[in-house]
Amino acid sequence: MAPEAVSFDRHPDSYRHWRLRVDGPIAWLDLDVDSGGGIRPGYELKLNSYDLGVDIELYDATQRLRFSHPEVRAVVVGSAKDKVFCAGANIRMLAASPHEWKVNFCKFTNETRNGFEDASEHSGQTYLAAVNGTCAGGGYEIALACEKILLVDDNSSTVALPEVPLLGVLPGTGGLTRVVDKRHVRKDRADVFATRPDGVKGRTAVEWGLVDEIVPRRDFAETVRERALEAARASARPEGATGIDLPPLDRTVTEDGLRYQNVSARFDRGTGVATITVLGPRDPSDPRETGAASWLLALTRELDDLILRLRTNEPGLGTWLLCSEGEADAVRAHEDLVLHADHWLCNEIVHYYKRVLKRLDVTSRSLVALIEPGSCFTGVLLELALACDRQYMLDGPPIDDEASEDRASLVLTEANFGTFPMGNGLSRLDSRFYGDPGQVEKLRAEIGRPLSPSDADELGMVTMAPDDLDWEDEIRIALEGRASLSPDALTGMEANHRFVGPETIETKIFGRLSAWQNWIFTRPNASGEEGALRRYGTGQKAVFDRKRV
């Protein structure tokens, strides 16, 4: 029997693994894993170790803190259990999971950790880690994603990244990268640290930069509160604002697709293609008045959910076609409203949409945009097309209506010039025309003008603009060709092409670290019969093939 599809719907009222408490400007987010509550059967979540289900709740909490709690200015991530902060990702779960599950899980946890940093940087919600006990592997990676790490000084609590020595894998959720890039730990110390199964405690941890502060047990709670209040005082979160509710998504799930109010996806399992259609605004209402029902926020939530569901539940749908339908003018009108409102909620919407676009950027699926008559790839929605690996634009009437005068166009707006940076810190246009800033400047002059297929082709905005006679065949052949290639090679290739230019912590985590982790996960030394992941906890030592490659 196929396992039940993973749902990303959560609500704080029914969290199984986290306690969320808001107390004025401070939110307390405590990990309290229900060891019998794994999202799949077959493992126990001991010692506050986590699996995908635990992390989905964490993601839900971070989202609600941003949208529903404008009063929160500092978030303290702690543990409700005694003497253990978090033991990281559950090893039995990792050992028992198929490869794509492990990788998908790692990607999602990374995205959630990045969300902490995004909230600290762009929303005035500073994350602090209150480490009150054992903090190992993924547990320390949660702490590393916070701006400050406080460690209880009890002469036994440690921080550790024991993946290399104990498991034969990497701390792949940004652990290695954040130690050196974010916290500037000296590389020789980082090397010692990451090869020590027992980790580092107390003063050494502070001296090496692994934590910011050690606090005696009895002062711990108070010091954490103080630090949180300090962070809150420095925040630019608005005074007296009222948050909005994030109601459950209105979603219809069928065998062949998913349908929301503003997004739908149709599956063709035979060809491995999911066709995703995004609808433009029918009612470009002001989010300050309509909250979660306003178009861009609703769309973003639905798209986020769709991406997560497809990534987790539909690994065989290797190609996603992105389409849009609607009025370009309406998209632009709504976008103007959100982008220029100078309001905390609009700011949150912009950053949320940015994160969802980033999620798309790091999605290991072939992304193809189809720009047809009746589509509305304008400004914010044009970013979706630009996120794709290829863009095809129909140069002719709609396929099913030869007599129609309707022609495809796309429209650039200010939003395409830096509002939604990618993980590499560049806009999608800067990435597309990397090393050719003149081209981007040239495009700035085209803001607001509907670009015809030939304009778009000439300006380098589309891969190809076949006419109505060629369209169906070109698309079919492109998709079939894609489907025939090695999915692993495609994943590597696409991730490479999507992230040009400078390295950032994000590109390192998604580009390098997860690539290495993926590779290591498939090696016999990690996942073979005698590999470290399999042997962990059996009392037997892993047998390594000693050849370095």
Binding site: P466, D473, R476, I477, E480, G481, A483
Partner: protein, 473 residues
């Protein structure tokens, strides 16, 4: 504006051209370029008209129409053999599935490459034969040259049709590229080496149509097995026309040998050069040359490309459906004769699927032997003891495992000095070529023929030899 074409009047076809707007548009761009190419690269000799065969249908009866035609107005057509609706894939990993009516995206690049390579050979031979009309030994031969040329042109159309109809914009670009490469051009030569060799005289033309067009027959035969049905059906129909080209080659060499035998008997000497005939040893050298460069067209003896094409179902074996094996070839083995550096041959056992080019080459060699037997019978009938023979497959090779070795016609592996010393006995020398060329005087008088070749036993389409096949300007 591209020129508008009256499709049904100008382009006989059975692909529903008058209804296919995409194909029409593609042809509107390509067809004038083709005519320009024909004007520049087609036969040099000007004629009023030529008695030509035009393909007008694919039925068993009456697929061809004969008439005098002004050559530039020849109706190059687009024909696919009739579709067998139950046809299934005969080999490879898709064996048993219905054949494809569309190009599977997965195999687009490979299929396109196969079609482009096949397509590239078709206009190449027209280019190679461009000047031959100026020295034709009779009106009958002149007519055959034109016939071969227009049909090579039609075969080009056949491949271009596939590129236009099934490969989108890239296909159109590749179709144009077929007209932009030219045989022997230093910058843009034809893809395969043999198609950049000169066909400088009529003996070479007969040898070419015997040996090189016969390679075409075998290549088309493997593509006829393709799971991509339109390609299969195109090739099936092309094979009908190809048969005539080989007929020109077979009977052409026959007639040269017959004439030489007559002169040998008449003058009681093998040295008939002085009597206006071509000595048998020169014919053998021509044979050696054309046979060996044609073997190069089969590619390397071991080929993972060919294996991949086979597994994918793109290109089968000669008469695939008649083979009695599993049509997968993953468990079969075959022997590959390989030259060793110490001058001996070894037989290496390999997976059969890696030796498909060798398999096809063996079929071809067996076929070539029948011609040699024919020509030897002519010599026997004239009580001449000389015998023609195909050289060893390792002889004079530029492609494959033999290319780095010097192999004599009898299969001995020799050093370079021995090779160079023997070469003038094995391959046409500059003097041989000059001599043959010296015999090439046009004979355009009705019923007359050049000194070095016998007249054919029969004319074309029941017409006599002295029929006025060509009206010259």
């Amino acid at each position: 504006m591209p020129e508008k074409i009256d499709y049904d009047a100008k382009i006989p076809n059975n692909v529903n051209l008058s209804e296919d707007r995409r194909l029409q548009r593609a042809l509107e761009g390509w067809q004038p370029r083709f005519l320009n190419w024909w004007g520049e690269m087609g036969p040099t000799l000007e004629t009023h008209d030529v008695y030509l065969r035009t393909a007008i249908s694919v039925g068993r009866e009456g697929w061809a129409h004969f008439d005098h035609v002004h050559v530039p107005d020849y109706r190059w057509g687009i024909f696919l053999a009739e579709r067998d609706r139950d046809r299934r894939i005969a080999f490879g990993e898709h064996r048993g599935e219905p054949v494809w009516q569309q190009v599977p995206g997965e195999y687009r690049a490979d299929l396109q490459r196969l079609i482009v390579i096949q397509g590239d050979t078709e206009p190449a031979s027209v280019e190679q034969q461009k000047l031959l009309g100026l020295t034709a030994p009779s009106l009958y031969d002149l007519r055959n040259l034109f016939q071969v040329n227009v049909e090579e042109g039609r075969h080009l159309w056949a491949m271009v049709y596939l590129l236009h109809a099934y490969f989108g914009r890239e296909g159109r670009d590749e179709a144009e590229g077929l007209l932009l490469r030219n045989s022997g051009s230093p910058d843009t030569p034809r893809i395969l080496g043999a198609f950049n060799e000169e066909t400088a005289d009529w003996l070479a033309f007969y040898m070419f149509t015997y040996f090189t067009d016969r390679d075409g027959k075998y290549q088309l035969g493997t593509l006829k097995e393709s799971s991509f049905d339109p390609l299969s059906r195109t090739c099936e129909f092309m094979l009908k026309e190809e048969a005539h080209h080989m007929f020109v080659g077979t009977t052409g060499v026959d007639r040269v040998v017959t004439r030489s035998a007559e002169l040998i008997s008449e003058h009681d000497t093998l040295d008939i050069a002085a009597h206006g005939g071509i000595p048998l040893d020169i014919i053998q050298k021509y044979l050696n040359f054309h046979y060996s460069v044609s073997l190069d067209l089969f590619g390397s003896e071991t080929s993972t490309n060919a294996a991949n094409y086979y597994t994918a179902g793109l290109k089968g074996r000669w008469l695939e459906t008649r083979r009695k094996d599993d049509h997968q070839l993953t468990d079969e083995s075959a022997l590959l004769p390989k030259p060793r550096t110490d001058g001996t041959w070894e037989e290496r056992e390999m997976q059969a699927i890696l030796l498909l080019n060798l398999d096809l080459r063996r079929e071809y060699i067996a076929d070539c032997e029948t011609g040699v037997k024919r020509w030897n019978r002519i010599l026997a009938d004239h009580d001449i003891s000389f015998r023609f023979a195909l050289p060893h497959p390792g002889f004079n090779r530029d492609v494959g495992i033999n290319s780095g070795h010097h192999v004599t016609p009898d299969g001995s592996i020799v050093d370079e000095a021995t090779w160079l010393a023997g070469e003038p006995r094995w391959l046409p020398t500059a003097e041989d070529l000059a001599f043959v060329r010296s015999l090439m005087h046009p004979v355009y008088e009705r019923g007359k023929i050049a000194s070095w070749v016998a007249p054919p036993r029969q004319g074309i389409n029941g017409k006599p030899f002295d029929y006025e096949y060509v009206h010259l300007v």
